[in-house]
């Protein structure tokens, strides 16, 4: 064991006060320093923070960004979501394979570069996208790949790779990312011009209960997708017993096809922070956490700077804005590549330095959340709405949108359309209008709300986007008439299999079985009873899984069985009641090779 490892690990742990609840930060830093968290490193961490070694390993083995194996100093992650697959993933993967001489999952011989894939990194409107360490490259062409590899070979550090900086704050020196905002439509809630501090001033002039009352009057509902009334959540958290309370911002935007929070974090982080401070005031919390997905690490320096500026102007800190006794500060918790952490109880586990396992509910986070204290977890966009409501008034807000769904909604639109990007629209807008705006009129299908949402066809395009009809966290993926929709479904199932935390059987096993049966049908070996099987098993997974991920993981199959049934029926052979997937010759191949003889029962 090298002395260097020992001393660096010690320093890192001490940097987090040897606090095991900061395990995520500790292992992330070790990973960054050594390209992996080796067995030795795990032993050292366990000793230093005085926790069983298995606690360390369970974290390292859980998250995609962490690994026991040594990675190269440079890790190239190709974004492998369905939209990237539609826009050239295979092509650029091929160029990388050739230029580096390695396949996905391998490291170059000199140990310097590792090639990986990652599920959606939040750049669907500018696919295909690639991450080189923390740096993002979008609309990547074969030439870009060659250029990146050449520079890396010449020893250029990832952060110094040539790139064309994006618009807005993407060009800010603290961000300097080759990412475009693609804000296509601005409305009056999120993207309206910003005057920092107005909302907070108005909030602290009221009592916390009055603030919550305003949020209730505005009828604000959570923007992450589930649509729980924000005011009610805060009321529960405020009323819960606990020495301390916490506000957590869910910026773990991991739903494939969703990227609106990235744009808020780039262009309106002040609004988010103000909303969080107001939440802290309303529920009686002194600490806030922004749980930022690992893929958005490139935004971290800018967000840290924005937080510092907020501290300098006393929007954070002690006696916030002169309000005697109201103290509030925010820290950023980095995620490490786990979709399930977007589920609020898994997110809390992750903040506590554990595997991203969902927790049993009840107790709900509002009663017992982060470290056992009452906690309100809200989406990035929700906090932004809060700040506007306090500034402009609950009445103003509730006039926007539809009756059951007030305000505006950010949509992340990608896929087969001429104008992919972020749109701020009032709730209640029809899908046809959205498709027209985005230039996706000829769509054969739209995936509403990412893989966990539903796929709808033209028959449903007159429906409206709101909590009571087409509910969505904002992701709309558009598929043109030439796309094979079952391939899309297959990809979504693959995604859920990969991202299942493995805790409960329906989700861990059920999704594998669903995908196998789907593939059987896609191979033309389907029989009529397979459709009933998919429906039956899908509903079991839906009703018996432990958390939101599992409960929605069968949706790609269930919603297409409902809305696109002819696609399945065309592949199912009515006349052949049993279609075995079993192939005796294939099954005997290995044994014949080993034994050096042919089968005695089955002639070739």
């Amino acid at each position: 064991m090298s002395e260097n490892l020992e001393s660096v690990v010690k320093t890192i742990c001490e940097g987090f006060s040897n606090e095991k609840s900061r395990m995520m930060d500790i292992v992330r830093e070790v990973q960054e320093n050594f390209g992996g968290v080796s067995d030795d490193a795990m032993d050292l961490i366990a000793k230093q923070v005085q926790t069983p070694r298995v606690e360390v390993e369970s974290v390292v083995s859980f998250y995609a960004f962490l690994s026991k194996e040594q990675h190269g100093n440079v890790v190239i992650s190709l974004c492998d979501d369905i939209i990237d697959r539609m826009f050239g993933f295979e092509r650029i993967k091929g160029v990388f394979n050739e230029a580096l001489g390695i396949d996905v999952g391998e490291t170059t011989e000199d140990g310097s570069i590792t090639l990986e894939t990652a599920p959606c990194i939040g750049m669907c409107d500018q696919a295909p996208a690639v991450m080189v360490n923390n740096e993002i490259f979008t609309e990547v062409s074969g030439d870009t790949v060659t250029e990146i590899v050449e520079q890396l070979r010449d020893g250029v550090a990832p952060e110094r790779l040539r790139r064309r900086l994006g618009d807005g704050n993407n060009s800010n020196p603290l961000v300097s990312a080759a990412v475009s905002n693609n804000i296509r439509k601005e409305d009056e809630v999120i993207f309206a011009p910003l005057t920092c501090g107005n909302a907070l001033k108005k909030a602290i002039a009221m009592s916390p209960n009055e603030v919550i009352r305003d949020i209730k009057t505005a009828r604000l509902r959570g923007r992450g997708g589930a649509g729980f009334p924000t005011g009610m959540k805060w009321d529960f958290t405020r009323g819960a017993q606990g020495e301390k309370k916490f506000v957590i911002c869910n910026a773990d935007e991991g739903e494939p096809g969703t990227f609106k929070d990235r744009v808020i974090l780039t262009e309106r982080p002040q609004l988010l922070i103000e909303g969080m401070v107001i939440a802290g005031y309303a529920i009686g919390a002194e600490e806030g956490i922004i749980y930022l997905r690992g893929e958005y690490n490139y935004l971290r320096p800018y967000l840290e700077d924005t937080l510092q500026k907020a501290r300098n102007s006393n929007m954070l800190g002690t006696n916030v804005m002169g309000k005697e006794g109201f103290n509030f500060d925010i820290r950023i918790q980095m995620g490490a590549g786990a979709y399930v952490c977007g589920e609020e109880t898994a997110l809390i586990s992750s903040c506590e330095g554990l595997r991203g396992d969902p927790k049993n509910r009840p107790p709900f986070p509002a009663q017992k959340g982060y470290l056992g204290y009452p906690t309100s977890v809200n989406n990035v966009e929700t906090f932004c709405c809060v700040a506007r409501i306090l500034d402009q008034g609950a009445g103003w807000f509730s006039q926007i949108g539809s009756k059951g769904s007030t305000g505006t909604k950010l949509l992340s639109i990608s896929g087969d359309c001429r104008r992919p990007g972020v749109y701020e629209v009032p709730f209640g807008i029809k899908m046809t209008e959205v498709l027209e705006m985005a230039g996706g009129e000829g769509a054969a299908a739209v995936q509403v709300g990412g893989p966990s949402g539903q796929m709808i066809g033209p028959d449903d395009f007159e429906r409206t986007i709101c909590y009571d009809d087409l509910a969505t966290g904002g992701a709309l993926m558009i598929f043109g008439p030439k796309r094979d929709l079952l391939e899309v479904v297959e990809y979504f199932m693959e995604f859920f299999i990969e991202e299942s935390c493995g805790y409960c059987t329906p989700c861990r096993v059920g999704n594998v079985l669903l995908k196998q049966r789907l593939q059987k049908i896609m191979e033309g070996k389907g029989e009529p009873s397979d459709l009933a099987y998919l429906e039956d098993l899908g509903n079991s997974v839906k009703s018996t899984s432990r958390c939101g991920l599992g409960q929605t993981s069968a949706n790609p199959i269930l919603s297409t069985l409902k809305n696109f049934r002819p696609l399945y029926e065309a592949l199912v052979k009515e006349d052949q009641p049993f279609q075995p997937t079993f192939d005796i010759q294939k099954a005997l191949g290995v044994a014949k090779g080993i034994a050096g003889r042919s089968s005695m029962h089955f002639a070739e």
Binding site: F578, P580, V590, G596
Partner: protein
């Protein structure tokens, strides 16, 4: 009596087999105890380890299959059962899921054989060879549940399914009544 009348008068036939199983499900069949006397009133046994009839003598109403398919002989027997039995039932977790034998499914066949016959810590094999007599059926690349190989009509879960479960299922089938298993007979945790 005409042949047809003979068929109607004759008792229905039943066949059983253990593929890649441990015979535990057959033990459970025997656990119906003295009801086996009632059973022989209802049916005749064809191919089965219970009476040691090796090959089918005719068509059967019900085939009970224990165990999944681990080798080519299992596949041949299972296909034979499908051919001769009107109703085929997977009995027990190995037939339904592959069960314990399927634990090898995540390990390559070569590795399994090496560990079993050459490298295992308790292996005593002076020949240093993996047995390869032509009589030994070739292993499949992995263990398959029965319904992936042939059409299976019913599944009786359990490791093993309790005798009462098997009994109730058989009687329901033979008397043409709906099967109504109480919760206790299909609950396994």
């Amino acid at each position: 009596m005409t042949k047809e009348q003979e068929n109607i008068m004759a008792k229905p036939k039943i066949a059983t087999t253990s593929l890649a199983g441990c015979f535990g499900c057959h033990m459970s069949i025997l656990d119906i105890d003295d009801r086996i006397l009632e059973l022989v009133e209802l049916v005749d046994f064809d191919k089965s380890p219970i009476n040691d009839i090796k090959e089918f003598t005719g068509e059967c109403l019900v085939g009970l299959v224990e165990g999944g398919c681990a080798n080519e002989e299992n596949v041949r027997v299972l296909q034979d059962f499908r051919k001769h039995c009107k109703i085929l039932i997977s009995v027990g977790d190995c037939a339904i899921n592959g069960g314990l034998p399927a634990m090898r499914n995540t390990i390559s066949l070569q590795e399994c054989l090496d560990e079993a016959y050459l490298n295992g810590p308790s292996t005593q094999n002076t020949s240093g060879k993996i047995p390869n007599d032509p009589e030994i059926p070739l292993l499949l690349d992995k263990v398959y549940p029965c319904h992936e190989v042939v059409k299976v009509d019913y599944h009786l879960p359990g490791c093993p399914p309790p005798a009462d479960t098997i009994w109730e299922a058989l009687v329901a089938l033979l008397t043409n009544k709906p099967l109504d298993l109480p919760y206790e007979l299909i609950k396994y945790d």
